[in-house]
Symmetry: C2
């Protein structure tokens, strides 16, 4: 018998790694801007960070004490301390007024420049005040080793060395380096502007009272939070009903003001799945996707969803994929629309969340200058704390919670992990990536995981 809507279901599933690669290919690093150093944390560097000086810039004392010539202390002991005349003081920020000649010492503070002649610093606690001929002196009761308590010039960095590449996400330690090397204005990639559009006639605004059969649009706010976490600026474009014309108009408006578009809902095989209809009207231009594109463009949507001319997407649009070999979220789709990347995520909250982590987060990294290879999924391995019985013909991404025990990293699959479910999303700090197969995985198995933020 002829199965209903067969052409619509015969979308060809692209493997997840390949789908991510297609998305990253379509996401080129974007605009750059200059931000003050105080706001650079968390941003992505646009130019190499280079040491503009040796660091430390001069031989620095590591602690408070006395700069000495180590040879002078060779015979020092608690019972027979060596007495040295104190000829100057080197405060941090000031140079000592005198060099250290044999038989003398200079009082020095943490971070002070070690004066000429000295090759060691003796800790203040290991000295005692003294007077010699009425002039200040110090008693040293232990032998000092050459170089002791001194950070030599250039110990950490040599002038000209590259400390971070473009695309590096600036952590507080990078900000310290930028400050050290005099970079008050930091070139970074601009935050990508991310249009967020929810599709679905059933969606109510968050502030609306519930109505039978309808639900509130929670995906837009969730995606906005995910976008912010990823360094982007969410532009919330609201909800559109399941009407191709309305969706096409909203996407045209989104293209005007954003660098990337994320939609939720309408990607499945239902008669009213508006994103599936719109994207089904695109042809895929890349040879890599010719098989998939043939299928996609041979789609015969039902009467409600035929893209009319008014509902067409702009030129310079092509499909990347309209099915990914994954659970949940297999109808997740991606396209280039009007020259910009559009990710069409599932409307099921769980699948929407997984789709964002798999495709949108890498894309947002790439738009902020991260090299394509670095922008891929951040994978690690963990031990399954509990078995996961359910097999899948495709890779499965299971929300889970991590903990450690004796140095072993355990991933514990969360309950309420169906694609429609929200309950487990807040608690998940990783996704377990299960290989396709008729069975799940047993407790104790080593599995691949994707670390979440």
């Amino acid at each position: 018998m002829q199965l209903q809507g067969e052409a619509r279901f015969s979308r060809r599933a692209v493997k997840v790694d390949e789908a991510i690669r297609l998305v990253l290919e379509a996401a080129a690093p974007g605009r750059q801007e200059i931000v003050p150093l105080w706001e650079a944390g968390g941003r992505y560097l646009a130019e190499p960070l280079v040491a503009t000086a040796d660091w430390p810039p001069f031989a620095r004392s590591g602690l408070d004490g006395f700069a000495v010539r180590s040879a002078d202390t060779a015979l020092a002991s608690p019972s027979e301390p060596v007495t040295l005349r104190v000829v100057a003081t080197a405060r941090a920020g000031e140079l000592a007024s005198a060099a250290v000649e044999p038989g003398t010492a200079v009082r020095i503070m943490t971070g002070g420049a070690v004066p000429p002649g000295a090759d060691a610093v003796v800790m203040l606690e290991q000295t005692a005040d003294a007077l010699v001929d009425g002039r200040p002196a110090v008693r040293v009761k232990r032998t000092a080793e050459p170089g002791q308590n001194i950070a030599p010039r250039g110990e950490e960095f040599r002038r000209g060395s590259a400390l971070a590449e473009p695309g590096t996400k600036l952590r507080p330690g990078h900000v310290a380096l930028l400050g050290t090397f005099g970079c008050a204005d930091v070139p970074v990639f601009a935050r990508p502007r991310v249009a967020v559009l929810a599709t679905g006639t059933e969606l109510l605004p968050v502030e609306a009272p519930l109505v039978p059969g309808r639900i509130r649009d929670s995906n837009s706010a969730m995606v906005a939070a995910l976008v912010q976490q990823s360094g982007g600026v969410p532009l919330l474009l609201g909800r559109v009903p399941d009407e191709p014309e309305a969706a096409a108009r909203a996407i045209a408006a989104a293209l005007e003001q954003s660098d990337i578009i994320i939609t939720t809902g309408g990607v499945s095989v239902g008669d009213y799945d508006v994103m599936a209809s719109l994207l089904g009207g695109l042809s895929a231009a890349t040879s890599a996707l010719s098989a998939a594109s043939t299928t996609a463009s041979s789609t015969a949507p039902s009467a409600n969803a035929v893209p009319t001319p008014a509902a067409a997407l702009p030129p310079n649009s092509r499909l990347l994929f309209n099915k990914a070999a994954m659970r949940p979220g297999s109808p997740t789709s991606a396209a280039i629309v009007g020259g910009k990347l559009l990710l069409a995520l599932s409307g099921n909250p769980g699948a929407c969340f997984v789709g964002f982590e798999l495709f949108a987060r890498p894309a947002l990294r790439r738009l902020q200058g991260v090299a394509a290879a670095e922008a891929m999924l951040k994978l690690a391995t963990a031990k399954l704390a509990a078995g996961f019985a359910k097999g899948s013909p495709h890779e499965r991404f299971v929300r889970a919670r991590l903990h450690t025990e004796g140095g072993v990293l355990y991933a514990d699959p969360l309950a309420f992990a169906k694609s429609s479910m929200m309950a487990s999303i807040p608690d998940a700090d990783c996704l377990i990536r299960l290989k396709p197969g008729s069975q799940g995985a047993e407790a104790g198995a080593i599995v691949e995981i994707i670390l979440l933020q």
Copy 2:
């Protein structure tokens, strides 16, 4: 012999856990405010998040297909499909116009409300179109189980159940829940205003050219980035020289505009260590600290650093500790000044970073409503990837990098980890917490770690 400045060094070291406890005791949850849901990600909830309805709010179809009475399909098979008359359509967002009577079915979309009478949904792909007496019908070729592909009302949440407590850091999944339950305006704790003040005559502004003996203030920018990561708003108050009057004035100004003050530098035993001088003038009022306070208030600072009346800190000030049993950063100090928490971190970048993670990050969590027990260090365990030879009389916190291999979490101590060093800060994603002892730890040992952001 009488060691120099002995009274200044005899500060009593407080154990790190106790020091954190003292800091958390002094950091009460702060102001609250309302933010729009779209900006709530990453903020800390100020009121419980409660389900305002059962979720799902009605029995929902998990996929596109037909709502049926399972009993009607008991005899269905691929060779002998059951034919049911299609009496209505239930789009998502709309209620079906008819109930499912025996022998009938309702076309239903993902998320649609299951109509009365139906107790199962058959996947569209497992059906075929048909006509019965010229009217639309559907052929079902497999037996449907009761409940199949239906999410019953209240499956995930029951109306009135508490989903998140005050002090919860809102992750994208929480934002989805808030949206689902109609919370468009979210009560959160205000971002703490954190005054950041660098002390040290040697410090140049970041934009200044280097001068012999001086360095740029990199700590202010690093602390600003750490504060932002922790949800706070940094107020950069610049640099003050090593003069108690100047520092006291800057702290007075900081108190006017901030919820918490973080200073860097000037905490050690040098003659010019301005924060040590200022805090040395405080007495500790708590009985728990009476021993430490006696020591602290018996401090005899050198002539340069005697707090003059002009340099005194405001009333309502007391010392919490002026030495912590840790490496690096043992002179790290904390006080309540003018009723507000002041953390005096080391000026050495590595020690400053560790001090922030140990004391400021928990304090900022607490100021944002996290329960004191939850605000403590986030500990885990890992296996040492390489030995760390150096012992310490106090706990040692070693910057390290994590990776996994076969489900084991390895922590690899980074080079350039001296307290004065910056090189290893950007790369560190954890701190290894080594117990005090004459030796370090061997490769393969299981160690406690603090996960960094």
